[in-house]
């Protein structure tokens, strides 16, 4: 199966959602899937399982800090997106992957674990928590949340590459009492976003058995 890689650079969150929806329609119509990279300006997104107590600061105070808040049609609770966090959106026809949401999420997490390993970071996925964690520091490094229409996926993962982690103090990420970390924090130097994108593409292609065109 073929997939096209697109790099949207820095893009408004809601614009990215609208673009994804158009791509879902294209994949439903038979076009090949898309692997999309982008970054967002600071924004909190509230998934379908959002709980008010996951916001640790009043909504108005958050918006005064210049952080937008949007309710979105993905699974999970609240998460933060900000520059330095690599968003990976995957528009993929899951009819070719046994129509199994759990396995799909596990495979995405596996790609993230493999990616971090290749950068020298030991990370694991924890099935009942979802996402990817760094056991040495008991911190979370990758958040995950997807939507599915007619068995075509959208949304995906946020990998903290060089993210300013201070904004995570506004929330309980994914509703968990967990601190977030980043590749840059763990490696103690900034990490090339382009290298991360290249490595992700290669590992994703291997795990999902797709040809990047």
């Amino acid at each position: 199966m073929d997939m096209i890689v697109e790099d949207w650079g820095m893009v408004d969150y809601m614009t990215a959602c609208q673009r994804q929806k158009r791509m879902v329609d294209m994949v439903i119509a038979g076009q090949c899937g898309r692997l999309i990279f982008c970054e967002h300006l600071p924004v909190l997104t509230l998934g379908r399982l959002f709980k008010q107590e996951s916001l640790l600061v009043a909504q108005q105070a958050i918006e005064q800090k210049g952080v937008a808040i949007h309710s979105v049609d993905r699974g999970g609770d609240v998460t933060l997106h900000a520059p330095g966090q690599l968003m990976v959106y995957v528009i993929l026809d899951l009819n070719f992957y046994q129509r199994n949401l759990k396995k799909y999420l596990e495979r995405l997490e596996q790609v993230a674990v493999d990616l971090l390993r290749d950068f020298g970071i030991l990370a694991v996925s924890i099935p009942d928590k979802r996402g990817v964690f760094v056991p040495m520091s008991l911190r979370k490094i990758v958040s995950i949340g997807i939507g599915v229409r007619k068995w075509v996926s959208y949304h995906g993962l946020g990998i903290n590459v060089n993210t300013d982690l201070s904004l995570f103090s506004l929330i309980k990420p994914c509703g968990l009492d967990v601190q977030m970390t980043s590749m840059a924090q763990l490696l103690q130097h900034p990490v090339s976003m382009e290298q991360v994108k290249r490595k992700w593409t290669q590992l994703f292609s291997n795990v999902f058995k797709v040809d990047i065109v």
């Binding site: 998934g47 379908r48 399982l49 049609d73 993905r74 699974g75 999970g76 046994q98 129509r99 199994n100 949401l101 759990k102 396995k103 799909y104 999420l105 979802r130 995950i144 949340g145 997807i146 939507g147 599915v148 229409r149 007619k150």
Partner: protein, 78 residues
């Protein structure tokens, strides 16, 4: 009458929460229309109408849990 069933979403997933209904009781719907959105811990999934007709009743309301294989709502075929 035709039941709208919560489909299999993958092994180990036995239930999901109805996040919202896209249609209301009495609305006309066509086979394949997305009628409601369900959510598991990290995924949302849009459930499609198995037949054309009118939505007769909603069995699992927004915010309630439905079982995989269970009835979410009923379509009256016209």
């Amino acid at each position: 009458m035709m039941d709208i069933i919560l489909p299999e979403l993958g092994e180990g997933i036995t239930q999901a929460t109805v996040a919202c209904w896209h249609v209301q009781v009495g609305d006309k719907i066509h086979v394949g229309d997305e009628v409601c959105e369900v959510t598991t811990d990290k995924a949302t999934f849009n459930v499609e109408a198995p037949a054309s007709g009118r939505l007769k009743s909603i069995t699992v309301k927004s915010g309630q849990d439905g079982l995989v294989g269970g009835v979410l709502g009923i379509i009256e075929q016209l």
